[in-house]
């Protein structure tokens, strides 16, 4: 039944979006976002089923089939108003593949990544300045606060179960005592729906890091080392709500995981949310 309902919902969204105009809000996913300066006293208001008010709207198409509330704005009105969703329509993005946005994240360096795995409901923040996964959570994020002229930061919808805060968590063994090291972000690829970050350490050690979800329970980070380095250290910060396991190396008492090889080929880290009830 729920599958059938989902298909109906999806068809409805696609039909309306591709013919009539823009999907501007899906109130089933939470609040409707309105840019602050959209508010215009001279235009009409409309009250949504979830009790929120939209302004600056003249024509709205909506439907309520007991679970999902969609609101649509005609293209004509859309072009003539300041009303903007962040992204339109997200339903035409693949709902299966990882989605990657460079934006303004809380507790992160500038232009950090907001990443979601929509099919499992996991999201994470990747920081290309600090050099790692800053936090992982169940839920979603809202990019629309970043749209305004004087913008705000992304809203995280959920509670992180994993956090990192130290600079440059992956480094050469001899640098484990340093506060920072030489980390340079080099970009990312997405092949067959798999996200892979590229960076180098000390200018010579090329690293590729694939991040994939493990169902909805956590993430796996596969590190592939492209250079002939023999060992690397990864900072493992203590976690309250998740467990961290490594493959291809060992976690030492000093909070670093060590990976060795001749040369080092690769290793993996698994971050799993602790079960709430044992």
């Amino acid at each position: 039944m729920s599958l059938f309902r989902s298909i109906c919902n999806y068809l409805f969204v696609v039909i309306i979006t591709t013919t009539l105009g823009y999907l501007i809000a899906d109130s089933s996913n939470g609040k409707v976002n309105i840019d602050r300066e959209d508010l215009n006293a001279s235009t009409k208001k409309i009250e949504l089923i979830n009790g929120e008010e939209l302004t600056d709207i003249e024509r709205v198409y909506s439907a309520n089939n007991s679970k999902n509330n969609y609101v649509f704005l005609s293209r004509e009105v859309f072009n003539g108003s300041n009303f903007r969703p962040f992204f339109n329509p997200s339903y035409l993005d693949s709902v299966k593949d990882v989605q990657i946005y460079r934006t303004i994240m809380p507790d992160a360096g500038p232009s950090a990544f907001a990443i979601r795995f929509p099919d499992v409901g996991l999201a994470l923040c990747y920081d290309s300045v600090r050099g790692g996964v800053n936090y992982v959570w169940h839920g979603d994020f809202d990019l629309s606060p970043t749209v305004a002229k004087v913008h705000d930061i992304v809203e995280i919808k959920g509670e992180p179960f994993y956090r990192e805060t130290d600079w440059h968590p992956l480094r050469l063994m001899e640098d484990v005592e340093e506060t920072k090291t030489d980390y340079r972000f080099r970009g990312y690829t997405v092949h067959d729906g798999i996200l892979e970050f590229h960076y180098n350490i000390n200018g010579s050690v090329e690293v590729r890091e694939r991040i994939t979800p493990i169902e909805d329970r956590g993430i796996r980070r596969d590190f592939e080392v492209q250079s002939t380095v023999e060992s690397l250290a990864l900072r493992i910060e203590p976690q309250e709500q998740s467990t961290v396991e490594v493959e291809g190396g060992v976690i030492l008492d000093n909070g670093w995981a060590v990976f060795r090889g001749e040369p080092l080929q690769g290793f993996a880290v698994t971050i799993m949310r602790k079960q709430e009830k044992e």
Binding site: F4, R102, V147, F185, G187
Partner: protein, 655 residues
């Protein structure tokens, strides 16, 4: 429940069919870009349909080598239109405000986004980029709203050319995990700060990723271009230390006026930066785009390399503006340096009302100076153009038409979208060029002019003025005077006329207006206005006075009290983004908070005007630590603060 869903599905199908027929019924008219202006105009403006799934805040426009249109938007997407002119695909997404594009080939391109220049490639042939490779990112950012990375032309050596905007003192600046530690110190009274290297600079980046700092002194260098002669040009935006927006030829190692960027110039590391030093080291702009008359915020300059496909302005420069205006610039080299004239090209109704109607008022900024309002009415109105506002990014298509990417976001009423300008084949009656001569200027028209009118000094009106170079937010026009045209010499073919004037003073902008001049067929000059920036005379003379001071005494203007209209303009420029047009203020999560002027507890009731005056004027130190509202003591003078207080009290104070 099942039945209900089936009914819903059927209803959806019926709606789909009806709507499809409805949509098809007008696809062949409006949507394909029916000419929207009179047939006898030389240029027509057409809509360029964009993919419906795209938020049309266009931030970059280019074409691939094969001629595919490529469009970026501020939400971080890049869309490519196929050669059929109709179907689109989303090539990339998730970029952080991409503001420059350079297509390498049909499957790969470079993009400048806030944090870096990125190489995008579709390696699998599915039409979608799967590689986002960092080319260069060796500069600082703080997630401030006013920081942007503009680009992205290549010079003849293959270097990417790009420019970094300054950070706004009032906006968010992130301290967590900076690329470079933030330096919030001011260099000299600036309100836009260079908090991290190389903000306020024009830079080159070799394809290998090596960074080459090229020129400094920019505030918001929105438009970056490399001319056909491999010279770098920038449009810089009016504001603090920038008297008026302008087009600037950027040479290696030169400084162009805004002091914030000097923080990163080793040559001045041990110097005390003073106005005198700045005056000495500042290189003048090539062509000033007088604020108000020539818009409020110029976009990216593009050179007409269409070899005549776009009409009689080959090799000239076109610059879109945030308002409903596209400008045309004719450059010439005098003693090896560029200067020249700017003309309106496409324009709409002008004046304060038009500005408020089409541009909101915010970010058109206050027309500079006491008499600023008149400059908004400086350009003769020519209503009815279907051109929208927000004309920030343009590119010539392979067919010679000019594509215009538009965005206003929430600076103003929405003007987002894409249009293009197509030359109809009819030669417009225009001043093609305005060039310097030994004794005045020579106008070269696009067609043969009525000799009786063209050869009369009375047909032309000329005046001159200059802008002051100081920390103020824009400059008034100063040292204004009429210029006497003592003689005219029309060429035999009736297409050129020399205007001999009583005096040519370097350092001034010469304003030319043409009255009722028509060609031999009786057609009036369509845009009878030009501003020539006279940096140098033919014998090499340059301005010798103080750039920061008036040469001539300005007559004192008697004032009875605060000025409501000036207050309104100041409010629209500086206050409206937090306090709202209706004075209702509001909160958000970043620490910005503005009180509601209109409620019963309004501070307009509870505070005296003197207290409010002091609060607006503020103290620098206090601004950064204790309050979310920036102080305006450096930006507004006492009279201006009184004006805006008067406006706020009159408009919003509860009875």
């Amino acid at each position: 429940m099942r039945m209900r869903n089936i009914i819903l599905l059927l209803a959806g199908a019926v709606i789909l069919i009806v709507v499809l027929f409805w949509a098809l019924s007008f696809l062949s008219t409006d949507q394909t870009g029916e000419p929207m202006v009179e047939e006898d105009l030389s240029y027509r403006i057409e809509e360029v349909p964009l993919p419906q799934q795209m938020i049309p805040e266009i931030s970059a426009v280019t074409f691939t080598p094969a001629g595919r249109l490529v469009v970026a938007n501020r939400r971080g997407e890049i869309w490519i239109r196929e050669l059929d002119g109709e179907s689109w695909r989303r090539f990339a997404y998730g970029l952080h405000i991409p503001l420059g594009l350079k297509a390498k080939n049909e499957d790969a391109m470079y993009v400048s986004q806030k944090p870096e220049i990125t190489y995008l490639e579709d390696s699998t042939g599915d039409g979608i980029a799967d590689m986002y490779k960092t080319v260069v990112d060796e500069w600082g950012i703080s997630d401030n709203w006013h920081e942007n990375t503009y680009g992205l032309p290549q010079d003849e050596d293959g270097n990417f050319v790009f420019a970094l905007g300054l950070a706004d003192q009032a906006g968010l600046m992130r301290e967590e995990y900076p690329r470079f530690p933030l330096d919030r110190d001011r260099v000299l009274d600036e309100s836009k700060l260079s908090v991290s290297p190389w903000q306020g600079w024009v830079l080159k980046a070799a394809p290998s990723g090596d960074l080459i700092p090229w020129g400094s002194g920019f505030r918001q260098p929105f438009g970056v271009a490399v001319s056909p002669d491999d010279d770098i040009f920038i449009t810089n935006q009016q504001g603090d230390w920038v008297g008026s927006s302008s087009l600037i030829h950027v040479k290696e190692g030169q400084f162009y006026g805004h002091p914030a960027s000097l923080k990163w110039d080793e040559r001045y590391a041990d110097e005390t930066i003073s106005v005198e030093l700045l005056e000495e080291i500042r290189t003048p702009e090539s062509v000033v785009l007088p604020h108000g008359s020539m818009g409020g915020s110029p976009g990216k300059p593009v050179w007409d390399t269409t070899e005549g496909a776009f009409g009689p302005f080959a090799n000239q420069v076109f610059i879109g503006d945030f308002t409903k205006l596209i400008m045309r610039v004719d450059l010439e080299k005098i003693n090896g340096e560029y200067q020249g004239a700017v003309f309106p090209f496409i324009r709409d109704v002008t004046g304060v009302e038009a500005v408020e109607e089409y541009s909101g008022g915010d970010n058109l900024t206050r027309p500079a100076g006491e008499e600023g309002r008149i400059h908004l009415e400086d350009v003769p109105p020519r209503p009815g153009t279907p051109l929208r506002q927000g004309n920030m990014k343009m590119a010539f298509a392979p067919d010679g038409s000019l594509y215009i990417g538009q965005t206003t976001r929430d600076w103003a009423k929405a003007g987002d979208g894409m249009q293009r300008i197509v030359w109809s084949g009819r030669t417009p009656t225009e001043i093609r060029t305005m060039r310097l001569t030994e004794r005045g200027f020579e106008l070269n028209f696009t067609t043969r002019m009525d000799s009786e009118l063209a050869d009369q000094p009375d047909t032309y009106r000329m005046s001159r003025f200059r802008y002051l170079y100081n920390s103020g937010y824009g400059s008034p026009r100063v040292d204004q005077a009429n210029v006497q045209i003592v003689e005219t010499n029309l060429s035999e073919n009736g297409e050129r006329v020399e205007l001999i004037v009583d005096e040519l003073i370097p350092g001034f902008i010469y304003r030319l207006e043409v009255d009722e001049l028509s060609d031999v067929d009786g057609r009036l000059v369509e845009n009878p206005l030009a501003y020539y920036t006279l940096n140098r005379t033919l014998d090499g003379e340059q301005f010798e006075g103080r750039l920061s001071e008036r040469i001539f005494e300005e007559p004192e203007v008697e004032r009875d009290g605060p000025d409501f209209n000036r207050g309104r303009q100041i409010y629209s420029t500086y206050c409206v983004s937090c306090h709202m047009r209706d004075g209702s203020g509001g909160d958000d999560d970043t620490g910005f908070s503005a009180p509601d002027f209109t409620d019963d507890e309004s501070l307009l009731r509870t505070k005296t005007d003197n207290k409010l005056f002091d609060y607006i004027a503020g103290e620098k130190e206090e601004t950064l630590i204790d309050r979310t509202m920036p102080s305006f003591g450096n930006t507004l003078n006492d009279q201006e603060i009184k004006d805006v207080l008067h406006f706020i009290n009159t408009r919003f104070k509860p009875e």
